[in-house]
């Protein structure tokens, strides 16, 4: 089955307007919480500058930092693995589990494993994976991907979650009280944490200077999993590095405030060494990141710390839903990361934006997201990921607009056509006219008016 493009998915999402309103308002509320929190920090904009500059330095010296990180992590007793792509990443994780004869694993949030489709891969190999973040567990039970990187089930209504929990966890039918549902998940997942020998987590930051990794959660699920398992596997993209501990201060001040408006996540845990007699493995993953690093125009996308602020503020994301982006990472940041992974498959995403620029303004590391969307459009068209019809239309438009004479004729035709034969354009094939009237047509253009009323001044 062909994957629908963003516009088609968005049109489907918009069939239920009340739900779109609900989705929009929920995310806007989070944007407002972010504003309130950010505006309490007088040095907020300087912090964003600093964060962006730290990441710029990291990317410019990534080779050295990776070597330093590896050396320090190894000295800490951590095992390091390198994966060029999603497949190698998945193979490494599976290999570690197989070696220990483990067939059940608990996992906390990691967008990287979503990007690599790890769960599906492990399930095919007979490994059971249980996601422990509440939102991720919910979408996992619903057999859906997350629709948001921080709020995985933001698209789901509590009644739907109540039904899922009734079916899978035996909560009372018709009960949609978040308190009750969360308690049920707590009990169910506590049993999981206590019985799993392996825990996989993501990584928010990795410190080159110390070889430690930092994992941020509100629920405490990453810690519960990792501290109770014999084997802790932490998977990270190579861009997650920061030079030293001092730099964590800047990012931890920005991350949660940008994401949800909290001053910091409940837990910010620093893992340097494995527990006595246990193992900590870190998988460093490329999967296209070195390619993006080489694209000067798009390199800055690797600064992303996955806060989700650009999604919450994006007027298109709020009204089209995360799944419409058909990519592990949705929203504006997803739309500039995805074409690097597969240009043809994600050629629609950079066009799913009005280029309003709000994303770049909320970004805590100041990624020029909307400018990169514009630049991706140029690259995609040049690489041939466009339609012949669009190409012809653009060529015609360019020719017309390059010639004052043709422009005047075309303008007259358009105005005359609109004026005397509105049916010519006011039909269902005209996407403008479906829900919008055409502009009323004036008698003359401005340039005609000007020649009549002011031209004497020109001569």
């Amino acid at each position: 089955m062909k994957t629908l493009n963003h516009a088609q998915n968005a049109a489907n999402f918009n069939k239920d307007e009340k739900r779109v309103d609900w989705h929009d308002e929920t995310l806007w509320w989070i944007r407002q919480k972010r504003d309130k929190s950010a505006f309490q920090i007088p040095e907020w904009e300087s912090l964003r500058d600093a964060a962006s500059a730290i990441k710029a330095n990291t990317l410019s010296n990534l080779h050295q930092y990776l070597i330093e990180f590896e050396k320090n992590a190894l000295a800490n007793g951590v095992k390091i693995h390198w994966a060029r792509d999603a497949k190698e990443h998945n193979d490494i994780v599976y290999g570690l589990l197989k070696e220990k004869g483990i067939d059940k694993m608990v996992k906390s949030k990691s967008m990287l494993t979503e990007e690599c489709h790890l769960n599906e891969y492990l399930e095919r190999k007979g490994i059971e994976v249980i996601d422990s973040d509440l939102g991720e567990r919910i979408v996992q039970l619903a057999k859906e991907p997350p629709s948001h990187i921080v709020l995985p089930c933001i698209h789901k209504k509590k009644e739907e979650i109540g039904e899922l929990f009734h079916e899978h966890l035996g909560t009372p039918a018709g009960n949609a009280d978040p308190q009750v549902l969360t308690e049920a998940a707590r009990i169910h997942l506590r049993e999981t944490f206590l019985t799993r020998k392996a825990a996989l987590t993501g990584v928010n930051f990795a410190v080159a200077e110390t070889g430690e990794i930092v994992i941020c959660t509100n629920e405490g699920n990453a810690d519960m999993g990792a501290h109770l398992a014999d084997l802790h596997i932490a998977c990270m993209g190579i861009e997650k590095l920061v030079p030293s501990r001092a730099h964590l201060a800047v990012f931890l001040r920005l991350l949660a405030r940008s994401a949800t408006g909290q001053p910091i996540t409940t837990y910010s845990s620093h893992f340097a060494k494995p527990r006595a007699g246990k193992e900590l493995h870190i998988v460093l993953v490329d999967n296209g990141r070195t390619r993006q690093l080489g694209r000067a125009e798009f390199r800055n996308s690797l600064k992303c710390i996955r806060c989700g602020a650009c999604m919450n503020t994006c007027p298109v994301y709020r009204r089209s839903g995360g799944h419409s982006y058909h990519n592990a990472i949705a929203g504006p940041i997803g739309a500039i990361l995805a074409p690097n992974l597969a240009m043809k498959e994600y050629a629609d995403l950079p066009f799913a934006s009005t280029l309003c620029g709000s994303c770049s303004n909320v970004c805590p590391v100041k990624i020029d997201i909307h400018d990169q969307l514009y630049k991706w459009r140029q690259v995609l068209v040049k690489e041939g990921h466009t339609t012949t019809a669009k190409q012809l239309a653009m060529q015609t438009m360019a020719t017309t607009l390059s010639s004052p004479t043709l422009f005047k004729i075309a303008g007259k035709t358009a105005r005359v056509t609109l004026k005397y034969a509105p049916f010519m354009v006011n039909n269902k094939f005209n996407a403008w006219y479906l829900q919008r009237d055409m502009p009323k047509v004036p008698k003359s253009s401005f340039s005609e008016w000007y020649q009549t009323n002011r031209k004497q001044n020109e001569q």
Binding site: R319, G357, K390, S402, P404, Q435, D437
Partner: protein, 246 residues
């Protein structure tokens, strides 16, 4: 001071009254304004669709038309931003540099260059100001809601000089209307939904008019308002500042 009037193509064709208001307003302020007749379009429709490489003809034409002025002024944030960010002509680098530096959106020209402190116009209606994104975030015409920075608004300052106008506060002061150039047809569903939501914010405040610095956004909102048989009308800010009666 020699000023060239740069009129976006769709204003020339569909909203000549906006261009006339802009011209008259500048003339009334004592500016020597002329309108280069050979102008067509800034090339943004192609560029934003990914066809920047087809905009060479527009670029050459733009430079040709707008040589020799102290300032170039347009009643549009979006087209001005496009010129400032994307006008290219490798054989005329100095000219291009000068054009980029001296092209102004109308309200920023009035506030920053002419330092307008008085206007004679009156507009006795309840008005909502739609902050078009390219003017707002691209040209920084007003303080942006995302940033932790002091409040200011160039269009707002000018509207406050208009007599009897009643400006309303919106819930979402700078949310995008969903026009977005070809986005408005390529992503029809979301575009219209965004437009409807923007209109609702104004409707809740009982406005009689929606104004803004970009007629393209207003054209999109007007299309929806007219389909809804709404009593709300759109007016470009140039028309209000020029004092043309509603």
């Amino acid at each position: 001071m020699k000023v060239a009037l740069f009129i976006p193509c769709y204003i020339d064709q569909f909203y000549p009254q906006v261009a006339i208001a802009c011209l008259e307003l500048l003339e009334r302020l004592g500016i020597d304004v002329s309108y280069p007749l050979g102008q067509t379009c800034c090339g943004q429709p192609m560029a934003n669709s990914g066809f920047e490489h087809l905009a060479d003809g527009c670029n050459t034409l733009f430079v040709k038309n707008f040589i020799g002025f102290d300032y170039i002024v347009a009643p549009s944030g979006s087209c001005v931003l496009h010129i400032k960010e994307h006008l290219k002509n490798d054989s005329q680098l100095d000219l291009v540099k000068h054009i980029k530096a001296t092209t102004y959106e109308l309200t920023s020209f009035l506030v920053d260059i002419l330092k307008v402190e008085h206007l004679t116009s009156s507009f006795p209606y309840r008005v909502g100001m739609h902050q078009s994104c390219h003017g707002q975030r691209g040209l920084k015409l007003s303080q942006m809601s995302e940033l932790n920075a002091p409040e200011f608004s160039k269009p707002g300052k000018l509207l406050s000089l208009v007599k009897d106008i009643e400006l309303v506060e919106l819930d979402r002061k700078d949310e995008c209307c969903g026009f977005g150039g070809t986005f408005c047809v390529a992503e029809e569903a979301v575009s219209v939904k965004m437009g409807k939501d923007r209109i609702n914010d104004h409707t809740k405040q009982d406005v009689e008019y929606i104004t803004g610095v970009d007629m393209s956004c207003l054209m999109h909102l007007e299309g929806i308002l007219n389909r809804q048989n709404s009593s709300i009308s759109v007016k470009h800010i140039a028309e209000i500042l020029n004092g043309v009666k509603a």
